[in-house]
Symmetry: C2
Subunit: 361 residues, 2 copies
């Protein structure tokens, strides 16, 4: 079941994939609960959070037990299935709608979560019309979505691999999710070498904890820097490519990604280091430009502490914009499941045949 | 004694000055030992490290008990005095020289430390020639140097204050030392307002711990961000001025400062935010350009942990370049004790009359 859900059967063994990209590393349906790997305590601890209601999943997403736009969408989809009746009761639709809105509100910047919720509500309506079991239909939909995401991510990873020279030194920021992991897996499969520098990405350290874990697991030499160091390394000629994921790409090529990405994109541009954005599902048709993006601010308390230890004096507040906007002129290429685009041509993505036909988000 | 040493008598009461800028907050001579405030555990703990030998002071500097080029030079000067005999014994000179070299090697990038050591060795030679007590002469020299640094820093702070509009929002990185603190004190004295955003500055968090402490103590609204956030805030129009200190300024206007400064200077330049460098003692005459700067790398283990908690997987290394080089075209103004210079004219500093006549470093 796990391999089939993963959708990469025949390419990689489940055990060859780093934990955060296994199905158990995202979110798994367990009949009466959703089991989510707690990414906050990786890499040193492997702990799972069991959620028995959609509200629990909402808390887990809000508290960063799981992160990454696509992984969140899978967890949220199973979360909504927890609210669905184990029958075709039409009366459940309004409460499902309320739970979906609650889940969407946890992380408003990315769009995969919203798309998953809308797809789930459509599926629930259809199940009711056809007298099918709503919960089973939702679980099947999320399984299908997760599988499609894996295959779409792998297509993206292969295109990215084509772009990167053997022996390149790459800088990443935050955790660029499955396209990045599949890029690394594919690079290893093709017996090319890489050295990987992960920017730690305060306050949650996704770079130090997740990217470094995946790169080291796959076997590449992996080093961690703080979020202020990438510019120096680029200026010093130590970086060949800067790579991130994107939480959203606009139709004009604007990239929205983890806070810190803009500074690195500026430094890459100033030092002729190409910046590749991995965005497996292409641009968001509803986002024409950055005017359509509302950057979420998170709780400033998360900034003035580290591992539960307060860092700043009492009375001093933290300020926490969670995402950066990178204008298109700072982006070299946007790598998708349908090919590699310059930012000014990313709108051509929507007219290119899909790589995977059964996507959900 | 403390007030007289401080050198700002009549301007600010000792108690009105934030702890890290009091004499007790740098290094104090206690007859048979040097007492150094442990900046690593600020702001929540006030702890002092007593050093009874030059080698102890060297360890304290290397381990970041004290930081900041000027403060380090004071601690090192007293440290060398610990090695000096309480008489005029000429035989002590060679071991003083060895201890001075050992102290210089602790932090090779800044120059104040080296200058203080050379001044101390000169003073020791003179004391021997004149039959004076070497230790007393060294302590007197360091006291004089500390007092001169305070007055020179205050002149710089006043020039900086002239540049900054009432109500401005300023971004700082690392702890810009006494010129910055005196800028804040002078701004408050002139009854102008400021809001201060401190970039936390991993891995040692000097911004969250020291800059925020000083700004909050003086009474300005103070917020902390991570090192990846300043670019977003500048692009979003939330920053009016970016201010740092400099560990070194070259004669061509190149600035060397804490890692992370370059990325912020790039972002400031891209968003028309002025970047002011505070450098109370002006450019280094021996450094023509960045070719004369050797950036030190510190132990990568400091990157992959926080408060003793490991952040990255075992097997992954940290990479820790400690300083950034900022080319002159990214610097708006260099503020010194002798006035405010554009980077292209900073060499004029050396032909301008000194603000303080008895400087040591």
């Amino acid at each position: 079941m796990a391999i089939a859900q993963l959708g990469l059967e025949g390419v990689f063994e489940e055990q060859a994939i780093p934990l955060p990209m296994r199905r158990a590393g995202m979110a798994e349906w367990h009949g009466d609960h959703v089991r989510i790997l707690d990414r906050r305590v990786l890499p040193l601890t492997e702990r799972y959070v069991d959620c028995y209601a959609a509200a629990d999943v909402a808390v887990a997403i809000k508290d960063m037990v799981i992160q990454g736009a696509y992984s969140i969408s899978i967890a949220a989809g199973y979360g909504l299935a927890l609210s669905a009746p184990d029958n075709s009761d039409a009366g459940s639709l309004s409460s499902l709608q309320a739970d979906a809105e609650h889940l969407i509100a946890t992380r408003p910047t990315g769009l995969a979560l919203k798309r998953m919720m809308l797809a789930c509500l459509n599926t629930a309506s259809e199940a009711i019309d056809l007298g099918k079991n709503i919960r089973e239909e939702l679980v099947a939909l999320v399984n299908q979505g997760a599988s499609a995401l894996a295959r779409q991510g792998y297509e993206t990873g292969k295109y990215a691999c084509d772009q990167i020279a053997d022996g390149a030194s790459i800088l990443t920021h935050c955790f660029p999710d499955r396209s990045f992991v599949y890029l690394l897996l594919e690079t290893a499969r093709r017996k090319k070498s890489l050295s990987v520098i992960c920017s730690e990405t305060r306050p949650y350290l996704q770079g130090a904890r997740l990217s470094a874990l995946c790169s080291h697991f796959i076997g590449f030499p992996t080093r961690v820097i703080t979020d202020g160091m990438g510019g120096f390394l680029m200026r010093d000629g130590q970086i060949d490519v800067f790579i991130t994921a994107a939480d959203r790409v606009c139709m004009d090529g604007t990239v929205c990604n983890k806070i810190g990405t803009y500074q690195y994109a500026l430094a890459a541009h100033a030092n002729n280091v190409p910046y590749y954005t991995l965005r497996q599902s292409g641009p968001d048709r509803e986002s024409k430009s950055e005017a359509d993006i509302k950057v979420e601010y998170r709780d400033g308390e998360e900034i003035v502490q580290f591992s539960g230890v307060r860092t700043a004096p009492l009375g001093v507040e933290g300020l926490y914009p969670a995402f950066d906007i990178v204008p298109p002129d700072l982006v070299s290429r946007i790598v998708t499941d349908r090919g590699v685009y310059s930012p000014s041509r990313i709108r051509e993505y929507v007219h290119t045949p899909p790589s995977v036909r059964d996507t959900v988000v």
